[in-house]
Each structure stands twice: as C-alpha cells, then as structure tokens.
C-alpha cells in the first residue's frame, strides 16, 4: 500500500483494538504487579509501602527455597527424558512409511489433551488401592504391597508425576524433531552413506549436528514449561507432604489466593517472571541467530 498519510491512520485504526487489549490486560497488570510487590497488602488492610521487604522476606522464607529447589529438581529430572526420548522417537518415526506416520500421530495424541485432565487420569492410575499401576506391579511380583505413589514422599511423587508428564508431552518435542530431521538435505545423508558410515555414526555425526538448533529450542521450551509447572502437582499431590511438592507457581498461588498475601504473592510472581525471562531471552537470541 502506498505510504500516504491516510494509510498510516487506517493501519493504526486496525491495530488499535489489539494494542489497547494488550495494554489493558498484559502491560497494566505487569505494572500493577511491580507496584504491589513493593507494598504490604492483604485485601483487608490498605496497601502500605514497604520497599523491598517482600523480596527480603521471600529470600528468607524456607518454603520459597523448598518450592524453588523442588521445581528445579523436577525440571532436571524430566528435561533429559523428554529430549532424549523425544529425539529417539523422532528417529524412529521420521522416515516416510505408513506405520511410522501412524505411530507419530498416536504419540502426539496426549499432547492435545489438557494437562489438568491428564493429571486426573494419572492420579487414578497411580492411586494406591484403586490404581492399575499397583495392580500390575503386584501381579508381576515387582512389589509385595501397594506403593503410596502420590503425596507421601516427595521423590516418589516426583517420579510418578514426571512419568505422567512424559506420557503427556513427549510427542511435542518428537514432532518438532521430526520436522528438523526431515529438513536435512538428502544429499548430505546420502554422502555419508557412501562414506560407509553406520546408522548411529550418521546420526551422531550428521543428523544431530544439523538439528542441534531445534534440540536447543525444544530444551528451552521444555525447561520453561517445567519451571512453570502447576496443574499436575495441584491435582496429583496438592503439594503434599507438607508442601514439599508445592512448585514455584503453586507457592505463588497459595500466597496470592488462599492466603491473600497480595503484595508478597506479587513479589514472588516477579521473581518467577524474571527467572523465566532469562530463559526466554536465550531462546529468542537462538531463534534470531538462526533466522539471519
């Protein structure tokens, strides 16, 4: 379109509704959150300015660290499984064949269902007395008596929940890896075939380096997703035992909503947002670099 004054105003008119929406429902809450984080405020009492006291309180709060470290532990446990597992599934299903395409479609099915709903499903599968997982393990004589999977021991809960989340999201990485593997030029793979490289050698020396960017990006997306985990823990352990499995987002939720410590909740939200921001910047830099 011509660069006329009229066009500028027309363009601005089209973009204004979205801009107003984002200013109202993203930018304003963000500013409000920063303001809240500097105040002592619990809905019943009026907000009182306290500077950085909420942040000081957070870093001295035992539960803040319990939640943060547990979230980190969960992230460190699940990310390698998602990436390595997703990549192996991609290697299996990337080549053109009907069986492989169907397998790919099926592995992706859990990705489209809700995390809340899949957590309810696995909450039942892992149930001590009513769950089929204990039944199978008992019948196979792997265990002598039912295991208390959820909400009794933090590590056992972490393992059980991670299993359910792997089932739910492994297809996401797989599909993106399949896309990257299929984009590797055929001449390159053929050339290495002529050189007499074995299958795994070709994967390690040719395919993996050429798809490394996607591996990095999926890793970051997975890490960010895991650091923001909430649904699965809220539903499957409710933070038990003693809030040991309450993740960072869970901790923010507890302070802001049931406890109504709004200022404190906002400060915690901001710490969380800054942590995520650091990872997102890395992700954007990686994307930018690959585009140029």
């Amino acid at each position: 379109m011509q660069r006329t004054r009229r066009n500028r105003y027309i363009g601005l008119a089209y973009v204004t509704p979205a801009l107003v929406f984002v200013l109202a429902f993203t930018v304003y809450p963000l500013g409000r959150m920063i303001w809240m984080s500097l105040h002592d405020w619990s809905l019943i009492t009026p907000p009182r300015f306290i500077g950085l006291d909420n942040y000081k309180q957070a870093f001295g709060d035992r539960q803040f660290w319990v939640s943060f470290l547990f979230t980190l532990k969960y992230t460190v446990l699940i990310t390698p499984v998602l990436i390595v597992g997703g990549y192996l599934l991609a290697l299996l299903t990337a080549p053109a064949s009907r069986t492989r395409a169907i397998t790919r479609t099926i592995i992706f099915v859990p990705v489209v269902i809700g995390l809340g709903v899949s957590s309810l499903l696995w909450y039942w599968l892992f149930s001590t007395n009513f769950g089929v997982i204990n039944r199978i393990l008992l019948d196979l004589h792997v265990i002598d008596h039912p295991v208390l999977w959820l909400g009794v021991d933090a590590d056992t809960s972490n393992f059980a929940i991670s299993t359910s989340v792997v089932w739910k999201v492994i297809g996401f990485g797989m599909i993106l890896f399949v896309g990257a593997i299929q984009a590797v030029p055929t001449e390159i793979t053929e050339a290495s075939l002529v050189d007499g490289a074995g299958y795994w050698q070709r994967i390690g020396r040719v395919i993996l380096p050429l798809t490394m960017r996607t591996v990095l990006l999926v890793t970051l997306v997975s890490v960010i997703g895991s650091l923001l985990a909430f649904d699965q823990f809220y539903i499957m352990t409710a933070g038990q035992p003693q809030n040991e499995t309450a993740t960072s987002v869970f901790f923010v939720y507890l302070n802001s909503f049931p406890y109504l410590k709004l200022g404190y909740g906002a400060a915690l939200s901001l710490v969380l947002a800054v942590t995520i921001l650091a990872f997102t910047i890395v992700q954007l830099v990686l994307t930018r670099r690959s585009e140029s």
């Binding site: 499903l121 007395n129 996401f172």
Partner: protein, 294 residues
C-alpha cells in the same frame, strides 16, 4: 522469516538399509509405543463404563465385568450438572476464539500491509506476553477483574485466555498476510476497494488455513487451561470442566473418590480435543511448526 502456512513438505528421509529383520523390529517398536500411549486413555474409557461397585473395587479389575452408564449418570447430575460445566467450557472457548480473531485479524493485516508509525515497537508490545508468563500475572489480573466484575464470568475468563493466545495468533496471521502477493492487493486498490473490502476479498481467502490454525489453537488452549479458571471462578456454577473434575477428585458423596465418575469426566474432556486434532491435524502441525519454536 516467511512462515506461510502451507502443508509442511514431508521429504523422504533415506532410511538405513533395512534387512527384513530390522523392518519387523521397527514395526514391533511402533506397536509397543502406540500401545503404551493409548492404554491409559483406553483404560479410562473402560473404567467409565464399569458398574458402580466394580469401578470402586480394590484391587481394580483389568477389564470391565459388566457394562453400565451409571458413572455418566452421576456425572450428569453432579453439583450443577454436566451441561452447566460443558456449557461453561464451550462458552469460554467460543468467546476466546471470537475475541482472538476480532483482535488479531485486523492487527495482523495492519502490521503486514500498512505503513504505521512505530510499527516495530507496536509489534514488540503486542508480543509482550510471550516473555511474561501469564501464571505470574494472575494476581494483579484477578484484582483488576474483581473491580470490573469480570471474575466468575465466562467473558472474563475468555479475556484471560485471549491474552494468553494473542501473540501466537498475531504472529501467524501477520506472516500469512505478509505472504499474500502484492499484485492481488494492487488490483483491488485499482478497482477502488476500501481497506476493509480488500481485507475481506483479497486477504482472507488465501489465509483461511492460517485462520483455521489460529482458531484451533485458541479452542485447545481455552478448553484445557486450568490455573486461570481455578483462580477466576469461585462459584461452582461458573466452573469449567477441568476445575469441577479437580474438585470432584477429593470431594464426593460416597465417602471415597468416585473413580468411575471421574474417568467419565476425563473421557468427556478428552473427546473434543482428540477429535479436532485428528480432523484438523494438518492445521495443527502447521501452527506448531511455524509458531511454537520459531
């Protein structure tokens, strides 16, 4: 970048030279993986049609010994009734789709095709929520919604879901509008078409696949979203499906969790997602490839 939403070209990747045995191994691996993936879902469906007593049995039976729709009947009448919760979930999802399209179709068009002062800055502001996770913004949003009476409201929840979905939509649509050939647009301008006519007649038809993708993702995001719905809806008649089911997992009339009813709820929640995914797989994959990672 040029993310047109064409079908992702599937290139034939040369397979390792397979001996006959290798082929069987691959097939066996595929079958095993599909089984592990589908069994939990299948098992949930089976549990939902077990008779009441069997659904509450310890240890659980592997296969239903009888068939009954009692679990669905109990879910139908649970609290405000299944129809209320289905209505809330579908209503919110529908509003989310409408809001998202009304905001991002014009904005994507403008950003792709008009000389706007400060365009880059506007685009960055619009994509802001990509960097700030909505989980962190829930506390101030809740307070804001409480003052403007948008808590306990499907419209309010849809606004929140739209805020989550907006950057993705805008990004996809802007790129699609940018990929429409200039000649088409110029012809319309010569014919004397206004900007809105040009949008409807020239730009929308070739970008229908992108619009389908955006609609599909808005639906799935809204239908599945849990934390926002949990925070914004405090009265039970406004709960969405995942929230009422999460409540039902602990609180029941029988004294213990009603497992059969819970799995009936899981089955019903899963059906729309799996259905739209299988029917619109092409659009789903296109969105994933151009939006999720880039």
């Amino acid at each position: 970048m040029t993310a047109t939403l064409e079908r992702t070209t599937i290139r034939a990747v040369p397979r390792p030279v397979h001996t006959g045995r290798m082929r069987y191994l691959v097939a066996a691996g595929c079958i095993a993986i599909c089984t592990v993936t589908l069994l939990p879902l299948l098992y949930s469906v089976l549990a939902s049609v077990k008779p009441t007593a069997e659904a509450a049995a310890t240890p659980p039976t592997y296969f239903p010994h009888g068939f009954s729709l009692d679990s669905y009947r109990r879910l139908w009448d649970y609290q405000e009734g299944l129809l209320t919760y289905l209505g809330n979930s579908f209503g919110t999802a529908l509003l989310t789709i409408v809001f998202t399209l009304l905001l991002t179709v014009p904005a994507g068009y403008a950003l792709a095709r008009f000389p706007i002062p400060g365009k880059e800055l506007i685009f960055v502001v619009l994509l802001l929520s990509l960097i700030v996770p909505y989980q962190a913004l829930l506390t101030p949003m809740f307070l804001m919604f409480a003052t403007i009476h948008l808590t306990n409201s499907l419209i309010g929840l849809a606004v929140l879901h739209t805020a989550i979905q907006l950057p993705f939509s805008l990004y996809i649509l802007r790129n699609s509008f940018a990929a429409v050939p200039r000649e088409l647009e110029e012809a319309a301008v010569v014919d004397g078409a206004g900007s809105l006519q040009t949008l409807v007649r020239v730009f929308i038809p070739p970008t229908v696949p992108a619009i389908v993708t955006v609609t599909l993702f808005a639906f799935i995001t809204s239908w599945n979203e849990f934390l926002g719905a949990l925070v914004m809806m405090s009265s039970s008649e406004k709960f969405t499906l995942p929230v009422i089911l999460a409540t039902a997992r602990t609180e029941t009339s029988l004294g213990g969790t009603d497992w059969g009813m819970l799995q009936a709820g899981v089955t019903i929640s899963v059906i729309p997602c799996v259905l739209v995914y299988l029917l619109l797989q092409r659009y789903y994959m296109a969105g994933l490839m151009s939006g999720a990672v880039k």
